[in-house]
Symmetry: C2
Subunit: 219 residues, 2 copies
DNA sequence: TTAAAAATTTAGAATAATCTAAAAAAAAAT
DNA sequence: ATTTTTTTTTAGATTATTCTAAATTTTTAA
């Protein structure tokens, strides 16, 4: 059975690896988990001994099939709980992450199954992030950053890339939300900042960085 | 900030003290927390240093005002979560305790407040146990064990004393539930076992021990 | 009132997670 | 091809929780 710390490491490795492509480095993990590289090295040895990761000294780590499955279970729980907090308890999307960070470690397959049913088997969390099914399968979606959308093109907001509280609060303030219909009316050639119209009504101005972190589908 | 372990100790001390009457002994805690007396002694020193308990060597422990408040917060969370699991997720009353044992340690005052509202500020959990309000106040109730109810007297089930899974499953099987109307039709003078009628329909036979653990109000 | 039994505490050790400082390896720069 | 810098690992500690075994205190029973 995994400790909370071990679960957090697996989740972090999963996210940092880009869903399993590149190996993850010690310093990346130290950064992401807000701990010291020496601490990470210790934990990597432990996870490798449990066959949850493949760890090659000085090179980096990858998840094993088992480690990936564990990571996806934690991610599933995290996203289901975030959905619960927003849909049922009336949290706003910028308030849920920290609480879900705790709830994701609750161990009860029955609870997760019943929660999933209660929520109507949601496909995505309040930030548009896909929720793995109970077998760890993720729905595939073709989303592009708003930064890549052509001027005059119509697009629908599907997700945010980074779900930091400040960024989400900012989006709420200017009127951007999951499902909103956006149109880029102008793109500054110098810094790639954009003017947008939301739902054909509200106007807003976004930096390139912001537009990189809003994921949309055309139409 | 308290660790899970510290919270469990405070809760256990609260329950074992009979809501703060008698001092709690080392072996009682070791028994209740499924750990060794030596381990308990260590933890008691720690809790005493934090001024959550008054610990007198060889004599026993009592909660301080601060310790009692912490214990009641954990109990409040435990019972709100149990209510959620039964009312919203469709758990049965014999399935919720273990999960609530985990959920009770989630730290988020906002979550508890919103959960309380979502549930309609319930006064009691699925076992009839009173839910402390956010200030730690417990509703007072005058309940008597079914064992003390006179033959032919009408009584309504309000709570169960011990919420062990086997006992709860047994009650469900014979048709006893919170809110059920009971009538003792016969009491065996030898072993105090009773014959009861549930809701004027179903008949059942209960040992003295079972009837001690069913709490009712007259009428 | 002493001796035996039970309860409790202390001593010493283990595991988990963390840290700082030093050593070693790899990568980058001259 | 060296030297310098950066990254990573190792070594040695620290805190939290837990244990077993031994010592101590309290309680119970002769
Ligand atoms: Mn999150
Ligand atoms: Mn977490
Ligand atoms: Mn319970
Ligand atoms: Mn608990």
């Amino acid at each position: 059975m995994l400790t909370f710390t071990e679960e957090n490491y697996l989740k972090s490795i999963y996210h940092l690896s880009g869903e399993g492509q590149k190996p993850v480095l010690t310093t990346q993990l130290a950064e992401g988990l807000d701990t010291r590289p020496a601490t990470v090295t210790d934990m990597l040895k432990k996870l490798a001994a449990k066959e949850l990761i493949v760890y090659e000294k000085y090179y980096g780590v990858e998840l094993t099939r088992k480690g990936k499955a564990e990571a996806l279970t934690v991610i599933r729980k995290h996203r289901l709980w975030e959905t619960f907090l927003v849909e049922k308890l009336g949290f706003s999307w910028d308030e849920v992450h920290e609480v879900a960070e705790q709830l994701e470690h609750i161990r009860s397959p029955l609870l997760i199954e019943k929660l999933d049913i209660f929520l109507g088997r949601p496909k995505a969390d309040p930030h548009g992030h896909p929720i793995p099914d109970k077998h760890g399968k993720l729905p595939v979606t073709a989303q592009t950053p708003l930064a890549a959308v052509a001027v005059q093109q119509q697009a629908t907001v599907r997700a945010v890339r980074h779900a930091s509280s400040v960024f989400l609060k900012y989006l709420s303030k200017i009127g951007v939300y999951i499902g909103a219909s956006l149109q880029v009316t102008e793109r500054n050639a110098f810094d790639h900042s954009v003017h947008i119209v939301i739902d054909g009504k509200k106007k807003a101005f976004l930096s390139r960085e912001a537009s990189e972190n809003i994921l949309v589908t055309p139409g």
